[in-house]
Symmetry: D2
Subunit: 296 residues, 4 copies
């Protein structure tokens, strides 16, 4: 290395290497496995600085820079990290997931291969009525439901569908139908499991998580998103912390709401006794004051 | 207009305006409707020239430029046209279609709304065995099949699935289950129809067509692609002609194949009597000779 | 139309048609012209509802839906509108602009064509020192500057560069150099004007505006963004209003800041006399309360 | 590993690791360094099979699959590899490069930092007249040029521009102008060097190379592309071989040209003595015959 001080070793995450390939269970038959990744927190910092890799250890000032980038939505440095997951998931979840276009996907093809009889049946606590307040969601609680009956309808329906599927694709005996797989699959239910490799950069992954780990997301995709949250925290702990502070648990107020907040706090001694700016740097505290009086 | 010679009227296609909104049937319950479009052939030419719209009529030299752009895969001018379609299609077709990422989509949501009992059942001539030569396709002919039996299995399976679905979402009587729609939908089959608005630029549309109007595409998406081919021809006839000549019916030979072709034609008088360069301009004829001797 | 109730006319914006093609001046030699567009507010609503065009007039409830979509960052319906601009701009501005990847571009090529001697010289009020607080910006005021001298250095430098360029590309006399244009252009300054057609969907346009019409954007790209803001307001007034309320003049507070705000307003009667929820619907007022106590 | 047979080690390329970080010189002051990468040939094969990594060594049948994928333009498995480069390049090259949108970029910012006096001056053999046949290129040879004079004009012009730049940004003495860097940079020439991190998936990288390593590309970007060709060959030798055979040295014939070729070879014994199907597998030989008679 002495002859060429620019020679690099690949950045790696020991924590992620330790679980590489290991399947983490999701729902009744699904999983997520980390297959590969590119980059670490130093790689984000490096791209932000467009400088040569001066040490790969994350220093205190690096954490500050990561938080600055997240706070100000400077997204391109986060695109410098990439992760590849192997995911097994029900097709109705896959249909929501695939709407995130900036990612690379290779999915199991039921045109080539025969589908296994694997389908999703929700757990009792996840079975609920249509919400009357949230037009696209489910109500809380299963009190006035017969969730076991619901499970049975879903399970029996899927089994009958797979009976039909198996009948259509069978090709062992002379009298078997042997229907083309690309046609036979159309009888299988939306609860059927599929698999794919999904590769995405960190910026787009965080955007995916902000939408799919949100309480408004359908429960069945949310559990995948929540597991990926854990993986990101394992991989890039300071990025994860900043993402939680500035995105997941941040709150946006409209122009009208800001006018109200401004009236409310106007005249207050913002950082008076008992209201110390806990967790804010001096700069953030100054920004905070500025934001609150923005619309006076 | 005299005061401002740059003032424009929107480019329009009379032929497309004449069919705007009209549904064209595809498969047993599907359709395609043109909802809106942007640009015409003059808009492509204009972008290629980055000049002011000197006349909107397509002149003879404009056709030549369009063919030149297509031949040399100069794709950005074709991105200057856009089309928006309203499509009704089975979900297994939608799952192939959505893999084309550079497009805008708004799909019917079965989280909000109740699904109609509409599903795809293939016509007799489309029912075929798994191909033994093409691992992802169907064989020719239905000779040794019982296609009516296949139709019955598919239809009955779908009807039973929708019986279960209707039972799950019913919410009129006190004893009705009223399951959340986002859960109930998981029992419906992949043959269920959905709808979406799909908006795409011409370059990406042509790429979609080159893959999905191809004989290797699954029949059920190919019929949609073929109908869109007609729409493109209606909208942009010279672009369509160039696309057929240089993409759809063009043929690519590998390095090794080129070596063979070269041996075959070496020494031949390429444009001898009886082998006139039909349909080639002088420049194309010269290019043709050059290509054939490329690997000598 | 009676025979086919689905037949459509293209949505159009009278206000935008009235200015189509007209150049609006930006900086000293630049301009923006609207060349074409697709869709109106009804088209956004239609995509959100995936329903048939029940009237194209924007009704009161449509405005509410547009605001709902903007507030909840439901971005795909906004992708259903598209606009195409012809822009003349300095190359250093074009270099920032092009970083917005989800757009279609055809730019004037200095490989083909000879560049005109057109370059940007900032106005006196725009000439300022490097900011000491904002590492990437300029300070306020020109008090301790000699702005005329700066203008002269910039103008003279550009003129000398174009003298060299003209000398290199000249090809009239036998002794002229006639250097390839693709090489000669490398002597021209970053202030040189270029032109392009830029086509983008509304969602990505709004994202562009949120970054480039922001006070932190460089002045020279901001003036283009501000002009485009006016064009969007002309085209889609309710969208524009919602964008201002929920994005441009909205304010996001971090997890830590929310904890502080919560302490500040805790125990307050939020909508007591004098703090009426001006401009909030009942639902928004309820949401507002919820947000403020989110982190208790 | 015995306890969990799915546990993985990251795929790596020894050949690429050996040169990681090492700068390879391009043009007079430019370079390319490989900073990081994701995936190897086994990763492409794995994605194509959506199967568990059965051995990471590339077997004979894997090479065949890679060639099959390339031949049939199955592009998604190639998206499973990713590479990150650190590139130093002149701005006029960067402006062509950035047009490839599906990539991640972090560029040196002359709003923050002061530009070094580094600019491109073409070598004598690269200085040529405007081509009379290729409207966007340069002619062959420097015979009737005074290339040293051209070099001098370019070098002197750039030096004068940097004199002006240095004068504008100087901020040491009380009388120094200290102009904001974002403004001062506009006097620098298009030949000025910039730097960026560029991250791209293999599919999009190959598309970039097919356009930019092509003889029609401007020489100054082509030399970067050619160096990247070497890097891809080092990283993924079988992919590279397939890319050369089926893309770089392949040849596409239009519908009209195919009709002519068909006439030419019609009646020929394609694989007669002396025309053996060198380098074609049996399947490819059959495909070849089929292609040649496609348009009969």
């Amino acid at each position: 290395m002495k002859e060429n001080p620019q020679h690099l070793a690949r950045p790696r995450s020991e924590a992620l290497d330790a679980i590489l390939g290991d399947p983490f269970a999701v729902l009744d038959h699904g999983f997520i496995r980390v297959i590969d990744y590119m980059g670490d927190e130093a790689a984000i910092v490096q791209a932000a600085r467009v400088s040569y890799g001066k040490g790969t250890r994350i220093a205190k000032e690096d954490r500050g820079l990561l938080r600055y980038l997240m706070r100000h939505r400077h997204s391109t440095p986060f695109e410098m990290c990439e992760i590849k997951l192997h995911v097994k998931l029900p097709i109705f979840v896959a249909r929501q997931w695939i709407r995130h276009r900036t990612a690379n996907v290779n999915e199991y093809s039921a045109r080539y291969s025969i589908l296994a009889r694997e389908f999703y049946v929700p757990d009792i606590p996840d079975i609920a009525k249509q919400s009357t307040t949230n037009k696209q969601g489910r109500a809380d609680g299963t009190d006035d439901m017969r969730p076991e009956a619901v499970q049975e309808i879903i399970r029996e329906g899927a089994n009958r569908a797979f009976d039909a599927y198996d009948l259509l694709v069978a090709d062992d005996e002379p009298d078997d139908i042997g229907l083309a797989r690309e046609l036979a699959r159309i009888v299988t239910p939306m609860s059927t499991y599929t698999e794919w490799y999904w590769k995405v950069d960190l910026h787009n992954l965080l955007h995916f998580l902000s939408l799919r780990a949100d309480p408004h997301a359908q429960k069945e995709i949310r559990v995948y998103a929540e597991l990926i949250c854990n993986l990101v925290e394992t991989w890039l702990p300071n990025v994860w912390e900043a993402f939680v502070d500035y995105r997941m648990e941040a709150c946006t107020f409209s122009r009208q709401e800001m006018a109200l907040i401004n009236k409310l706090v106007s005249g207050m001694d913002l950082f008076a006794e008992g209201v110390e700016p806990a967790g804010l740097s001096d700069r953030e505290a100054a920004d905070f004051k500025k934001k609150l009086f923005l619309s006076t």
